[in-house]
């Protein structure tokens, strides 16, 4: 750990990674613009491939916030998730539960954010730390590579995932889906910002 990281102990991970908080706030702002009657609207893909509906994009982001937070805390549970990952090659996600309205989805985004905020509020000199959760995930990953007869050298060289790696991945994942949601809303004439 370099000396500059030890200079300001009061600084938090969130202070040093402002893009994470900005990205989470941006999605919340865009998701709140989904018209209630368009939650189940699903864009048609001329190639026939399945797409998330507008509501499902927000649901998936809420699930992912929880998933990234649970990766850090070492909780393998999928409890409370809206969507289930496709179990076959169809690419079709299914819903684990239904949302009564947009507010319920927005509330789940807030809950997922709170789980991530617990990590963003930690002292920033913990950024390069691993966690019991990421160590357990790493061991599981190595075991699956070995079981598949694959080389583990590169994974072992990099070691378990650190807090910063998980948080940046969470922000990038969400930014991609927010870009999709924003584009679809704009196509509908919703004032979802401009370039």
């Amino acid at each position: 750990m370099d000396s500059s990281m030890q200079a300001s102990p009061a600084m938090t991970i969130g202070d040093q990674m402002p893009w994470v908080g900005m990205t989470l706030s941006y999605l919340e702002k865009i998701a709140a613009l989904i018209p209630e009657d368009k939650l189940d609207w699903r864009p048609a893909d001329p190639s026939g491939k399945w797409s998330f509906s507008l509501g499902e994009i927000a649901m998936h982001c809420a699930d992912s916030r929880s998933m990234f937070a649970r990766t850090l805390s070492g909780d393998a549970s999928e409890e409370g998730y809206w969507m289930k990952y496709p179990e076959d090659d169809s690419g079709v996600w299914t819903r684990s539960r239904e949302a009564a309205n947009l507010q319920e989805i927005l509330d789940s985004l807030v809950a997922g954010r709170e789980a991530l905020e617990a990590w963003l509020a930690r002292p920033y000199n913990e950024l390069l730390n691993t966690t019991p959760g990421t160590i357990a995930g790493f061991e599981k990953h190595l075991a699956s590579l070995r079981e598949a007869g694959k080389d583990t050298a590169d994974a072992e060289r990099r070691g378990p995932t650190t807090i910063n790696r998980v948080l940046v991945a969470a922000a990038c994942h969400e930014a991609g889906h927010r870009g999709a949601l924003q584009t679809l809303l704009r196509q509908m004439g919703v004032n979802a910002g401009s370039e």
Binding site: S4, L127, A171
Partner: protein, 197 residues
């Protein structure tokens, strides 16, 4: 718990933030799908607001790589930009010099090469500012103070010059949003973006 879980072999900045390379590669695969037939396509926004065309989205992603690389290097890469006017007013029309898929992809690659130099630095540099971000920090702070934005200048000073990690995170957060938009617009045109996932 520190990073002692790693093997001890020399790790790079890119190893410390593997999502950066993944994100840049993902964008390049999507950008390559914008061929001549799709380049000028501009989505209609029923509210009347101006949108990037597909080609302009690719050019903007390339420009942003140069912008972030310039901040890290302390260099002015604006001569590489495609954009010629980027109005501050929301909804205003951006203008670009004439571009084409091949030139945009080349700029995308060159911009990546400029970023790659930082990804190859030793991991210890990940949380350090660069001389470029330090220069930017001081000049921006002066600008805020000159504009009478003392409160903002103080908040900015508290955070300090951007580290390599902060700048790279900004790059990929920005690029991921535009890639999501581009990928969606391509899918609506029937392009097979699954291969780009």
């Amino acid at each position: 718990m520190d990073q002692s879980g790693a093997s001890g072999a020399a790790l790079s900045v890119g190893d410390g933030l593997p999502i950066v390379a993944l994100c840049l590669s993902g964008s390049e695969r999507v950008c390559k799908l914008v061929d001549d037939s799709l380049w000028a396509l501009r989505p209609a926004d029923p509210s009347g607001r101006w949108s990037f065309s597909l080609g302009e989205l690719v050019m903007h992603i390339a420009d942003a790589r140069w912008l972030f690389a310039g901040q890290l290097d302390g260099a002015d890469y604006s001569p590489r930009y495609f954009v010629t006017n980027q109005p501050r007013d929301p909804g205003a029309i951006w203008t670009f010099r004439p571009g084409a898929p091949e030139a945009a992809l080349e700029s995308l690659q060159d911009g990546r090469a400029a970023i790659q130099r930082w990804l190859e630095q030793p991991l210890e540099k990940l949380w350090q500012p660069t001389s470029g971000t330090e220069d930017f920090f001081h000049s921006y702070q002066q600008k805020l103070r000159a504009a009478g934005e003392e409160e903002m200048a103080q908040a900015y000073a508290r955070r300090g010059p951007a580290s390599l990690a902060r700048t790279l995170s900004g790059l990929v957060a920005h690029e991921s949003g535009h890639r999501g938009s581009l990928q969606t617009l391509l899918r609506l045109q029937g392009a097979n973006t699954a291969e780009a996932d």
